[in-house]
């Protein structure tokens, strides 16, 4: 275990180590050397990468996308778990199948579709879905729905049936059963999913590069490229930038860690 952990952490720590060193020092002495300490890489990465703006972009994409994904998938999951009708399995199958499709395969259809969907000027500068955050929010939501639906519906199936029977006896409507009964009970699962979704959507790189072509609209992951030049790239600076970009995910992870772990195990022990 310890050996594996070291192997796993080594590249990360190596990047962290070199992000505190000057390029000119490592250039002359090699990366195995010791010295040339500086904090400049961080301030320069922040300024040159324009991370303030791009972190805000990432935030504007990630938060609505995660909220929307969780809301929609919990709705579907609720129906799938609580009501049995003929197409239950088919529906779940469709959602899962969509999850298995590689996004690259859908690149061209999605791109063309978005190009032809008009948006009013206050929503998108270009007048189409392209180059707007709406496009990224929708695409990310669509691609994450399958997985969330699957996890949530399985989780909801483990809730004791009796609760719903008594709720129904008390006259709770379907909406009330969903919103006031199920949602509080699946909170651990929602928190676990939220953690995962924030990480995934925040780290998403592919769609952002394809659907956005305005430099000032890129999320922070794509903005990391700003630190590379046409020919020359200062690897220490890129290391510093990567660590800045990775920090928010770590914060979210540690903040929600407790929920995350309990969410995972709760799902597994209830049979």
């Amino acid at each position: 275990m310890a050996v594996l952990a070291v192997i796993w952490l080594f590249p990360l720590l190596w990047a962290l180590y070199n992000s505190f060193r000057e390029y000119s020092y490592t250039q002359t002495n090699g990366y195995l050397s010791f010295g040339g300490w500086t904090l400049d890489n961080y301030t320069e990465a922040w300024n040159r990468g324009n991370f303030g703006l791009h972190l805000k972009n990432s935030l504007l994409i990630t938060i609505p996308a995660v909220a929307l994904t969780l809301f929609l998938s919990s709705l579907v999951a609720f129906v799938l778990a609580r009501f049995s009708y003929r197409f239950n399995l088919t529906l779940l199958g469709v959602f899962l199948a969509a999850n298995l499709l590689p996004p690259q395969a859908l690149l061209i259809p999605v791109f063309r579709m978005f190009k032809e969907i008009p948006l009013p000027a206050f929503m998108s500068e270009t007048g189409t879905m392209l180059n707007s955050f709406w496009a990224l929010i929708l695409v990310n939501t669509a691609f994450q729905l399958g997985f969330c639906t699957f996890v949530l519906s399985n989780y909801m199936k483990t809730l004791p049936h009796e609760i719903y029977e008594s709720a129904e006896l008390d006259g709770a409507s379907v909406w009330r059963q969903y919103w006031q009964l199920t949602m509080p009970l699946v909170r651990p699962a929602l928190a676990a999913l939220a953690t995962l979704q924030v990480t995934w959507i925040y780290n998403e790189f592919f769609w952002a590069t394809v659907l956005i072509s305005r430099g000032d609209k890129y999320p922070v992951t794509s903005a990391l490229n700003n630190l590379r030049g046409q020919f020359f790239s200062d690897t220490n600076l890129v290391a510093a930038g990567s660590i800045i970009v990775a920090l928010p995910v770590l914060v979210v992870f540690f903040a929600l860690q407790k929920q995350f772990v309990s969410g995972l195990t709760l799902g597994s022990t209830k049979g």
């Binding site: 061209i108 007048g127 890129y218 030049g229």
Partner: protein, 449 residues
């Protein structure tokens, strides 16, 4: 990264205009444009337009433009120069130039989706095949009516012309490839720049005698070894052969190409070993440190060496290998601008692009930035140039033919997937020339058709 095939992009022209033109926004912009037209049209009528007085492109009137540039904000002098040009034009013509800055690599990698999606009116691009490919596909606009341009020579015009004989590009700057070395190292050992291949061979042997590797060499950046291939090809077979080969008119398994690889093989022992694991920056560092004597690279090599070595650099062009071919061709990739076909205001784009090629634009860029580029316009001021740049101008002006570099002169798919891998194979196994050339030719045939 998965990208749509460039050929796919032809569909974009079949889209109904209503799709592109939808929205009140564009209507509004149109109205604004008309307003601006009135104002600037009067200005130029007052004889303000002295730099473009040659009369051509008179139809192009200044207006608000959207300008896509391939250097991210704050990424250094390259961005400063482009921004300065945009600002200078906005001030001069009294229009708004809205700059969309994307970093170099992302811009280049997503160019097809950019052009099909919502391109800016004018954008930065490269001369040669990379431009011609989009001209053929109809994504960039014919701008032959802004040519001829004052101060832009014939070699540049040739590089701005697509297969249909029309111009789709205006050049702004270039950077030559040559053999770089440290002046102090040469002085200390009493070496001089070799004029002939015999001189070079003698020099390489002497360097080896001093436990110095003659040529620094890196192939981890897959494009880097193309420089060596290009120069050997142009010295052995000439510029015309290079162009015919990259267009698919000559075969990659021809005796000429095999000869290039055979010559390269004899030179490989003079190059740094294990080059496949080395980036050009590391190779440049080993030349700066004096472990290696020389390095064949573009002038951007200065970015890869420490400050004190930058002042100490000098270069020479690769010597003649065949007297009947001479040594008057070299790689000097040209950067410049195109007008997108989907431009919202093509006329304004043309007016802007014509100005961008002027000496005034080049001077505005070089005066504002911390490091100058080498202007394509011969009338541009050279006051800001460093020694290397002054010498570059001289070398390029003396060159009879200018190639754009292998990956800019040929199909991007062929260059980036086939040739890069094959050159790395060759460096690994220099004995298998027949196998490597046959494999390139086979794939070139299927890609170029």
């Amino acid at each position: 990264m998965a990208r749509p095939d460039p050929r796919e992009s032809r569909f974009s022209s079949t889209l109904p205009a209503s799709v592109n033109g939808f929205g009140r926004r564009s209507l509004l912009r149109g109205a604004l444009g008309v307003g601006a037209l009135g104002a600037t049209g009067m200005l130029s009528a007052c004889g303000d337009d002295s730099t473009s007085g040659s009369g051509s492109g008179a139809s192009a009137k200044a207006g608000n433009v959207k300008f896509g540039i391939n250097e991210a904000k704050g990424s250094g002098p390259a961005n400063e120069r482009l921004q300065a040009m945009a600002d200078a034009y906005a001030k001069k013509a009294g229009v708004t130039v809205s700059v969309n800055a994307v970093d170099h690599n992302t811009f280049q990698e997503s160019i097809t989706t950019y052009l099909q999606g919502s391109p800016d009116d004018v954008f930065t691009w490269f001369a040669g095949y990379r431009m011609a490919q989009f001209a053929e596909g109809g994504q960039i606009a014919d701008i032959s009516d802004v040519w001829p341009l004052d101060g832009i020579g014939d070699a540049f015009k040739k590089a701005s012309t697509a297969a249909d004989g029309k111009q789709y590009f205006v050049p702004v700057s270039y950077y030559p490839w040559a053999v770089f070395h440290r002046k102090s190292v040469f002085e200390k050992n009493g070496w001089t720049q070799p004029k002939t291949m015999d001189d070079l061979t003698a020099l390489m042997k002497e360097m080896q005698g001093k436990k110095m590797t003659p040529f620094a060499f890196a192939a981890k950046d897959a494009w880097a070894p193309m420089g060596t291939f290009d120069i050997l090809n142009m010295r052995l077979n000439g510029y015309d052969f290079h162009m015919a080969l990259t267009k698919g008119e000559k075969a990659w398994d021809s005796p000429e190409v095999k000869n290039v690889f055979a010559t390269w093989k004899t030179l490989l022992p003079y190059h740094q070993e294990n080059s496949l694991g080395r980036t050009w920056q590391e190779a440049a560092t080993s030349m700066a440190k004096g472990d290696c004597g020389m390095y064949l690279l573009g002038t951007f090599v200065v970015d890869g060496v420490p400050k004190e070595a930058q002042e100490d650099l000098d270069f020479f062009t690769f010597p003649e290998l065949d007297a009947s071919i001479g040594s008057d061709a070299l790689d000097a990739p040209i950067d410049g601008f195109c007008v997108a076909s989907g431009a919202q205001d093509e006329e304004a784009g043309k007016a802007y692009i014509k100005w961008l090629a002027s000496a005034e634009a080049a001077d505005a860029a070089n005066n504002a930035a911390s490091a100058p580029f080498i202007a394509a316009n011969t009338a541009a001021s050279t006051a800001k140039y460093g020694e290397l740049q002054k010498k570059s101008v001289e070398v390029v002006q003396n060159a009879k033919s200018i190639a754009q570099f292998l990956d800019r002169d040929t199909n991007a798919d062929l260059a980036n997937t086939v040739i890069t891998a094959s050159l790395q194979d060759f460096i690994k196994k220099p004995d298998d020339i027949d196998g490597i050339t046959a494999s390139i030719q086979q794939q070139a045939k299927s890609i170029l058709g």
